[in-house]
Symmetry: C2
Subunit: 398 residues, 2 copies
Amino acid sequence: MQLSRRAEAIQESPIRKLAPLATAARARGMKIYNLNIGQPDVPTPPEFLQAVAGFTDPVLAYGPSDGLPELRQAMSEYFRRYAIEIEPREILITTGGSEAILFAFNAVADEGQEIIIPEPFYTNYNGYAEMANLKVIPVRTRAEDGFHLPPDGALEKAVTPRTRAMLICSPNNPTGTVLSWDEMERLAAFARRHDLFLIADEVYKEFTYDGARHRSVLELPGLEERVIVVDSISKRFSACGARVGAVISRNRSLMAAILKFGQARLCPPTLEQLGAIAAYRLPETYFDSVREEYQRRRDVMFDGLTKDPGIVLRKPAGAFYMIVKMAGVADSDDFARFLLEDFNLDGETVMVAPAGGFYATPGAGTDEVRMAYVLEAAKIERAMEVFLAGLARYRARS
Amino acid sequence: MQLSRRAEAIQESPIRKLAPLATAARARGMKIYNLNIGQPDVPTPPEFLQAVAGFTDPVLAYGPSDGLPELRQAMSEYFRRYAIEIEPREILITTGGSEAILFAFNAVADEGQEIIIPEPFYTNYNGYAEMANLKVIPVRTRAEDGFHLPPDGALEKAVTPRTRAMLICSPNNPTGTVLSWDEMERLAAFARRHDLFLIADEVYKEFTYDGARHRSVLELPGLEERVIVVDSISKRFSACGARVGAVISRNRSLMAAILKFGQARLCPPTLEQLGAIAAYRLPETYFDSVREEYQRRRDVMFDGLTKDPGIVLRKPAGAFYMIVKMAGVADSDDFARFLLEDFNLDGETVMVAPAGGFYATPGAGTDEVRMAYVLEAAKIERAMEVFLAGLARYRARS
């Protein structure tokens, strides 16, 4: 039986594909530091699970297609902390940030149309572009520039008559880069100049360091009709398994269209929304210790990696990832496999995500890996020693 | 800002669009019997919520993209009750039956290709066809035939070089029709003849009456590579708000492709899967009282409606819906509005779903409404009196 072209074309998860090798290494008694996946170890707030357990209706019925009103209200109040006025009707609750991306793609573009995305980018955007039959047009960013936006000329070159939107992610997965306000204003002008939507994945909003505050595209004046925010509680409240996200826009006809997509899938999960309501009602100080902890981890990882003069890395200001460019590595898939199969330091090794999968341009990122700092600082310190030893061994072998 | 063509094209829910009129009627003090939406009143099994509340991990982490292994195992054992051998790896857990449909559509067909569906059909298939850029080709079924399949000639006429699959739903929403084994064998031959996938929505599997047993397309011999089942716990365990479904197939390359779509959205909701595991472990007898209750309701609704000689209705054998064809109604949208706005019997009225939205053929179903028997029998009995009085009044007015 012939499957669809898109079923053949869609990429296997580059983050998950090394899993069998890790399983085999563990079976040989190896200790692995898992830096390959963005699963935080921060506890989910107990208030979340208490709220879920508090559900006592006799029937777990369909909820509203746009989400529970109390959750939309709680999110509206959460945005007010950042001096961002968003009404509950400008928020539609989705099944994870993933569905928010799918809805945004479907609402702004038809088959064959194009979305510009700075690369490297979160690999699952590809999957949703395939499902929506859209073409991703990458704009290259580089380790040497800290993965900040290239000059306007590079953006202009990516535009065609089929371009419908630009998608950014800040704080960024996989680079950790936080766009400056200047960069956001450049993007606003770019969107206006070419009549594009500006879709922003802001799921790492709270994760910014060194006292920097993330500024949302929702703060760009005069861009209300163009801006769509993709949001999620997965990282914000360490509730990745909950699958509660949101799509947010002040463009009313866009939100009306997205509600129709929402009706087609009936509603997002009810119980996990109850947990999300409780989480959004936590005091703002909840994030202080989380932020402090991640900043410490970032510093340990950065200091460890930059001991190697062959590594290109600008200190990222947010999220909990880094893209690490390495001299002496031409095929980071091979290098990541080497770490799991042919290397150990006193019985320990490191699992990283080869960065090629985060690029749309063939051959890009093959000298890079992504690391997530989702382990406690002491473990990261040791993991960096193991990683650098592995890198040295790999270079010596080549 | 121009939205996408599909955002404009996607249909508003015909089931939910009368909601504002119902709200207004209630505000006037009217009592409304809600027969318009398939929200069962059967309690969710307490075991479901107990299992959810039993979650004590510190972190609500990402689960596997294909679902929790224990749930896939529990579903495999559930199928064994029906003498259907399905391995856990032939089951992928989805976020509701909705996502199962989306994944199945995406896996078998590309933009512009066609899926044949007997109409009237579950309206949300349209939404997913829009999102997947597929064309729905309806094959008409009729009240006079109890909405059973038309002769082979009608099926043949629907086939084009772009046809990739046929989608059936049995027991059916919105008609309540249960396909016979003969019909299923005809479909199997049809799928073979034209090299099509056969997608079957079997979410109402347990809801069959008069001692009839639903037979799954998974039981069709020699059709293993073509058959895809779309499943859900929403109706089975009265857990519509949980959003736990599944896509099931013995076609290994199809399941591998669907896993890639699954990876793009990371995982289905974890807590609700824990509830589903507990529900699937309930003894088979759990369904006996549920089935008995729905059969009683169906009989009360059928007996009530067939008192009117101008109603065409064959007694449906499953699910909890009926499509009611009425002489003297030319525009059932107008009739449903009339019931909410201009009619009452001693302060009571009935809310039904106009059937036009369940048809892809323009103008079809305008003399029909869908009713769901999701109220207790005594209320349905009274609701039928109110409905028939409303119908008589509407006819007299025309």
